[in-house]
């Protein structure tokens, strides 16, 4: 049995490959098979390959692109798709465990499909360490599948520390109180060479741009230290923090969910505590 895997060079792809091996001998289609990126064309290539090889399943990483291409494949083939699986067992039906709510909830489900289509949630399955699978021979695609394609690329304009790659993030929530209140957050971030983050309440209030938002519908982060100031810790926010190594919560409410689920906590008024930390750092220099 052959299983088709949509792959790029990322770890997420190798994790998807590991899960795919349960469904057969993998053969890969490269995310770069069509340049520039054209998701309908990739879906067409996957569909053709799956039919040609009578594939048992088609699997991709649950990245933005992986989910997008697989949804197009599912629509094209008229099959169900289980997105962001953390486990799957072949069978009739296939059983899957998949993420909901950005990983705050898990769903056990039966996938009734002659050809299971699945994406694998990043960082939930150990990466495959075996040799890369053979690549499927790619046939030319129809013009109609190239209508949706990348025609240009715009580089980001801000020169600050990127949230997704920051080693340290100082993040503010509703407790910061105002747009101006972020001055003390920025000051501490500056001293630590950190990125500034925020919760959804803050972007909804217009205090910070959405590019600063950490969470399920913002950026998912993986810093060494995440300092959460005046953030209660709704599931929406926590979904973005799963990769953080150490979390320090500063909040006046010791019972706030984030105060209980952090590694370190400081109770009290962030407007006093944050400047005091900045002062302490300066003092020791």
């Amino acid at each position: 049995m052959t299983v088709i895997v949509l792959m790029d060079s990322s770890d997420a792809s190798k994790q998807a490959l590991a899960l795919a091996r349960k469904f057969g001998e993998p053969q890969s289609v490269s995310m770069d098979a069509v340049q520039p990126f054209a998701p309908d064309a990739l879906a067409a290539i996957l569909a053709q390959a799956a039919d040609d090889m009578n594939a048992s399943a088609v699997v991709a990483a649950g990245t933005e692109r992986g989910n997008e291409v697989m949804a197009r494949l599912a629509a094209r083939m008229g099959l169900p798709l289980a997105a962001n699986c953390i486990d799957a067992e072949p069978g009739d039906p296939t059983t899957v465990t998949r993420q909901r709510w950005g990983g705050s909830l898990l769903e056990e489900a039966r996938l009734h499909s002659p050809r299971p289509l699945m994406t694998v949630a990043p960082h939930t399955v150990a990466a495959d360490s075996g040799p890369p699978p053979a690549e499927v021979e790619v046939k030319p695609v129809a013009e109609t599948d190239l209508v949706v394609r990348v025609v240009d690329h715009v580089s980001p304009s801000n020169g600050g520390v990127s949230l997704a790659e920051a080693k340290v993030i100082v993040s503010g929530g509703r407790g910061v109180g105002s747009k101006e209140g972020f001055a003390i957050i920025e000051e501490l971030a500056g001293l630590l060479g950190a990125a500034v983050g925020c919760s959804r309440a803050v972007t909804s209030a217009g205090w910070r741009p959405h590019t600063d938002q950490v969470g399920q519908t913002g950026t998912k982060v993986a810093p060494e230290v995440y300092i959460a100031c005046g953030i209660s810790g709704a599931t929406q926010h926590m979904a973005g923090l799963k990769g953080a190594k150490r979390i320090l919560a500063i909040n006046s409410d010791p019972q706030a969910p984030l105060m209980l689920n952090a590694d370190y906590s400081v109770t009290g008024d962030l407007k006093e505590i944050v400047p005091a930390i900045s002062a302490e750092i300066r003092k020791r220099r």
Binding site: A82, R100, W101, S104, L105, A109, L111, G218, A262, D263
Partner: protein, 254 residues
């Protein structure tokens, strides 16, 4: 022009998710409801497009009788009319949801003319299948661009920006098109009191589709085990600053 936005009623989960006794749903007894964050931006974009270009904006949902609240909320923000595909509260999988929406869109377009743009959220906040908008686009044979942070009309085309690592990819597709959007596309407005008043008298169409047997069949839900963090207190107030700095030094970031 005519713009449609599709939304889904979801609970506001707050800090901790509690399941029903049969573990097949979230216990929403003490929760408020909203639409998925990405969709809020879809509603805002639809309202802005019609403000700028004239025409009609429509909101469509598949959901329980209470989803009327979310449709009225959208109309309070400026959407002109609503279509409610009523369910009995049972969850529909993504494939079935898309099928019901496709049928409703075809019926509405037959009576009222085609939509130039159809907006979806990139994924729903709750079940997060990443596929309903794309399925609808395929069935209607319209181009679909996904995960958008910026949408600009350019005559009979639409320019779309999708956030990717290291910047944004740009797509330009002809209308009519289906676009799935993400939070950050715009900053949604708050409803005004007159807006809420007007929403009460805006037209709302209803139908009750039959739920197909789902091919992605929910068995049960589980709250994943925590990451085992139990916060160590570094103190209270500004007196905690030295302990915080020592922690930062130990973590190797200072």
């Amino acid at each position: 022009m005519k713009v449609l936005v599709c939304v889904k009623r979801v609970p506001i989960t707050g800090g901790r998710i509690v399941l029903t006794d049969d573990a097949r749903a979230i216990n929403t007894q003490h929760l408020g409801f909203t639409i998925s964050p990405h969709e809020e931006c879809g509603v805002e974009e639809a309202v802005r497009l019609i403000e700028a270009n004239k025409g009609e904006s429509v909101v469509l949902t598949l959901g329980p009788p209470e989803a009327v609240e979310q449709l009225r909320d959208a109309m309070a923000l400026g959407i002109d009319r609503a279509i409610h595909l009523k369910t009995d509260g049972q969850e529909w999988d993504a494939e079935s949801t898309a099928a019901a929406l496709i049928e409703a869109i075809r019926a509405d377009e037959t009576s009222n003319g085609p939509f130039d743009l159809i907006f979806f959220g990139n994924e729903s906040a709750d079940s997060a299948g990443f596929q309903v908008g794309i399925r609808v686009a395929y069935a209607l044979a319209r181009p679909c661009v996904a995960g958008l942070k910026k949408v600009t009309l350019e005559g009979s085309s639409v320019r779309c920006e999708q956030e990717v690592e290291g910047g944004r990819d740009v797509y330009v597709v002809p209308l009519p098109a289906v676009l799935t959007v993400k939070e950050g596309l715009n900053l949604p407005r708050y409803p005004s009191v007159p807006g809420k008043m007007r929403a009460r008298s805006k037209p709302m169409a209803e139908s009750t589709p039959t739920r197909p047997v789902p091919r992605l069949e929910l068995v049960k839900l589980a709250v994943p085990a925590g990451q085992g963090r139990r916060a160590e207190s570094l103190g209270a107030g500004s007196a905690a600053a030295p302990a915080v700095v020592e922690m930062l030094q130990k973590a190797g970031v200072l």
